[in-house]
Amino acid sequence: MKQISIFVENKPGRLNEVTKILENCDINILALTVADSNEYGILRLLVSNAESALDCLKNENFSVKLVDVIAVNVSNIKGSLHRILSVLSDGGISVEYMYGYAEGEIAALIFKTNDPILASKLLEENNFKFL
């Protein structure tokens, strides 16, 4: 699935700006993570409509791009993450970054890998469900 990545400077109000733009465009945020350095960060979002989020943010002069990620549904129990990572590493896939969220019994994990096609195939073969 498509994740949207946004370059943001570390200054007050920038995240706010992004969420405001998305709200104005009627876009719902499903999952979010921020990777940051001293001066800037990369905001990574799963949203209800990635294409239109891309357009909205581009119009506001943000540097944005769509990135292929894999979002997997797992049960919120011990060992779930480990099982997925084992499948991927056994298949020779390296994970560039990952993040996740859990709500009640359901958890979702989002991965960026070096080979999204192969990774999806492996996970599918092992009966994982995608978001």
Partner: protein, 431 residues
């Protein structure tokens, strides 16, 4: 295409003879009509007869922008105001503007040299030219206008600013040529790209000047718009645009030597440098009637090429301005020109030339910071790649200027764009 083959392809001996003759006439005219220069000559013990030709040029006093300011507004004019048919002025960043005047002959010579420039760029009566230099006291607009009229091109006198109208004219009136500052053309190109109008325009050539620009900036413009970007050089004190121009070979700007004698001097010792050396460009105007100037110091850094150009013109060529003696930043004792940083950025190939230089002094140590906009072309979704990019830019700049620099990536369109001369440096040191 050569507008005035007789002059532009004259052999060296003949052109120097013409220059010598015009210089002697000028010295006499100036001595009797400009008290400022008469006094200077008297102080130097220089008489009219001491100047017998261009070999004596170095004996004459220099002129600076400050001299013009001290004689503000019309104190250095060599003719009565009744003969001055137009005045232009350049806004100074500090203090008074510099005021220049033109007689009817001056204007006619000016149109002549701009006509040469337009022909040099391949622009003729078959062309439609959008003139996006400001019309007004600034010499750019009316200067280009006069030359374009002379060659018979169809002029679209847009003047500067109002990007909406500029874009509309480019699309609806389909000009084949445009004249403006290079940074403004890049701005227009960006807008055209955003609005997906690049394939709706018919431009094939741009005549660009009024600010220093680099070869890399030229490549960027030519690539984005698929046109030829031609340099035109000039300064109001000497005449305005057209003092020199590039031909389509883009290998140095041909100087109108029948009107201006160029020299290259060492900006510190003020001694003329041997042919081919880089130094400060100096001009003596030998035909100007309203405001003749001896050895005007342009503060532009360049060098002169005397070989005949591939285009057939024999006129001396000046190399692209590499910097300004007064833009020069001295950081920790090292001379740094903003243009060096620009070329470092463009060599990375991934960044657009939008940047700002901040110089500061922290604990008595000069610091240099370069802010670069993160363009979509190289925005990566991973921190480690952005950090690698920062390191690459830093290394490139250090290689060129030789002192350490901090590079900061900033969001797109956060660095101020200007429609006139681009501001590239903020010097926060109070020294």
């Amino acid at each position: 295409m050569i507008w005035n083959e007789h002059i532009e392809c004259m052999d060296r001996e003949q052109i120097e003879k013409l220059q010598s003759q015009r210089l002697c006439e000028m010295v006499e005219r100036v001595y009797y009509n400009v008290p400022f220069y008469r006094k200077k000559m008297q102080v130097l013990g220089l008489e009219i007869g001491d100047i017998k030709g261009i070999e004596d040029l170095h004996k004459l006093p220099f002129t600076t922008k400050d001299d013009l300011r001290e004689n503000y507004p019309f104190g250095m004019f060599a003719v009565p105001m009744s003969q001055v048919v137009r005045v232009h002025a350049s806004s100074g960043t500090t203090g008074l503007p510099t005021v220049v005047g033109y007689t009817r002959n001056d204007l006619s010579n000016w149109s002549e040299i701009v006509a040469r420039a337009l022909y040099g760029a391949g622009v003729s009566k078959e062309d439609r030219i959008q003139n996006s230099y400001g019309y007004g006291l600034f010499t750019g607009g009316l200067g280009l206008h006069g030359g374009a009229e002379k060659v018979g091109a169809t002029i679209l006198p847009l003047s500067g600013g109002n990007t909406r109208k500029q874009i509309q004219s480019l699309v609806d009136f389909e000009p084949t040529a445009i004249s403006c500052t290079p940074s403004y053309l890049l701005y227009l190109a960006e807008t055209l790209k955003e609005e997906e109008l690049l394939d709706k325009i018919k431009l094939r050539v741009a005549i660009l000047g009024a600010e220093p620009w680099t070869e890399n900036m030229r490549k960027e413009i030519e690539k984005q718009l698929n046109i030829k970007a031609i340099d035109i050089y000039g300064l109001s004190e000497i005449m305005g645009p057209g003092v020199s121009f590039e031909c389509i070979n883009q290998c140095g700007s041909h100087i109108a030597e029948d009107h201006f004698i160029p020299e290259i001097i060492d900006p510190k010792t003020l001694k003329p440098l041997p042919r081919g050396s880089e130094g400060e460009l100096v001009f003596t105007t030998i035909t100007k009637e309203a405001l003749p100037l001896f050895r005007y110091r342009t503060k532009d850094l360049s060098s002169l090429i005397y070989e005949t150009c591939e285009c057939g013109r024999t006129s001396v060529r000046m190399t692209k301005i590499t910097g300004r003696t007064d833009d020069m930043l001295i950081i920790r004792g090292v001379n740094v020109f903003p243009s060096q940083i620009e070329s470092a950025l463009l060599e990375i190939g991934e960044t657009q030339p939008h940047y700002m230089i901040y110089v500061d002094r922290v604990n008595n140590l000069d610091t240099l910071e370069v802010w670069v906009e993160v363009d979509e072309k190289f925005f990566s979704d991973e921190i480690k790649q952005l950090e690698a990019l920062t390191r690459k830019i830093t290394k490139q700049i250090v290689n060129i200027i030789g002192i350490s620099v901090k590079v900061k990536l900033v969001e797109p369109k956060t660095i101020l764009r200007s429609e006139g001369k681009a501001k590239r440096v903020v010097d926060r040191r109070h020294i």
